[in-house]
Symmetry: C2
Subunit: 256 residues, 2 copies
């Protein structure tokens, strides 16, 4: 199994604090040693960093901590290989273009029997069940909505249907973003919190590190952080229900 | 205008020496300050690093020099913006999946009037003429060959036709790779050399740095290096002719 981290904000925000705790689970406080990856939206572009080394030993992970990248939408993943060899092409998050927009996807769980028919528009490069599910989702979106991207409400409803369909084949905890919304589906484990005014001090669960967010934010900032397991031990993380799809936009959860 | 650097090898090779000289042209020995990028194939995967900072000031460029990445196919680009704002989504190389394979593309030149009809299968995310040309190439490959990737000879012949068609709209120096072959088209400036046994010492043009390749290679190694302008001043670089498409596989030029 793997762990996921997502961030969705109303202003470009760096993810160093959350990523610091999260990356420790990649080989130190947890067993997810088979690669990791992170994708930051910057405007319409995506900065996509993946590595098949454990996150705690990766120079790229050090770079992210040393040179904070600000983004409104981030998805990160640390991997414990279950299906697919340890190779760069199997590292999440995966990125594809659809409707001239970057889509970023990461998955936690197993879908051993999920073998959908793919029409060739989006095909897996590696051999994970996860990338297969991502290709299937994009294919179905294109089949349903043609060459014009749908409104957020239609997109959300369709993704909920597709996630339910895929989750019937196993465990489908997933994060998907098009750079404006972050869609998160939970089969088994997923937690989130919204940080907003008045900001407080947060303390990581995986390392003795605290940050006083009131000193690095403005009163208008709002940040949603979503993770497989809570990353801090003095904040109130809400658990997703099984089968829930939540949609985050501008740091708010639209589906409470 | 921009500059391009490509490498195609028969064994995973690091590009640090060539990249060191090339990156200096990104703001120091030349004026290409509007971003840079590099893509390394690693198996079927691609490590894709892009930055809208000048290469000489980029921490990512430092990382590449400090932690050499070995690859059989690399494409790098430094940018002087002509069309498209300075933004991450406009940084080359561009990456797209077609036939379940990663394709990497970078372009030097201007195609101001090139406005092909795109059917929606591959759409630009940014607003450069370059990404438009890349999407058009992939679209035409899919239209001609359907859901099965063609043999190298058919692919090369088709790319030659497509490059000629696009080059009629302006300047089209470009590099394209599917991870096994590196296709290079020249409109105005492109040079290459093949390094193979017996290896010699090479000296960069842009900095007083030499490397004795005989100490870091085996007799079987073969490396093709392709660049807009020669990178070393004591080796014999061959110039491409205008309108030429050369195909490099396993460090050899197939189209001499």
């Amino acid at each position: 199994m793997c762990q996921l981290l997502g961030m969705n904000c109303n202003t470009p925000t760096d993810i160093v604090f959350s990523f610091t705790g999260f990356a420790l689970r990649g080989g130190q406080t947890d067993e997810h040693q088979d690669g990791w990856g992170i994708a930051f939206f910057e405007g319409a572009g995506v900065r996509h960093l993946v590595d098949h080394q454990a996150a705690i030993r990766s120079p790229l992970a050090e770079l992210i901590k040393a040179h904070p990248i600000k983004s409104e939408n981030v998805i990160a993943h640390i991997r414990k290989a279950t299906q697919g060899k340890v190779a760069l092409e199997n590292c999440h998050p995966f990125v594809r273009e659809c409707w001239g927009i970057n889509w970023v996807f990461a998955h936690n769980g197993d879908l051993p029997e999920f073998m959908p028919e793919l029409n060739g528009q989006f095909l897996p490069i590696g051999n994970t069940d996860s990338e297969r599910a991502f290709c299937y989702i994009l294919q179905q979106l294109r089949l349903r909505f043609g060459t014009t991207p749908p409104a957020l409400s239609d997109l959300s409803r369709t993704l909920k249907e597709l996630c339910s369909e895929i989750a019937a084949f196993g465990t489908f905890n997933m994060m998907l973003s098009n750079g404006s919304a972050l869609f998160v589906h939970c089969s088994t484990h997923m937690h989130y919190l919204i940080r907003q005014f008045p900001f407080n001090t947060a303390h990581l669960s995986d390392q003795d590190v605290s940050i006083d967010f009131s000193s690095v934010t403005t009163p208008k900032d709002r940040v949603a952080v979503i993770a497989t397991q809570p990353l801090t031990n003095n904040e109130s993380w809400a658990a997703f229900g099984s089968g829930e799809l939540k949609v985050f936009v501008d740091g708010a959860c639209l589906t409470n």
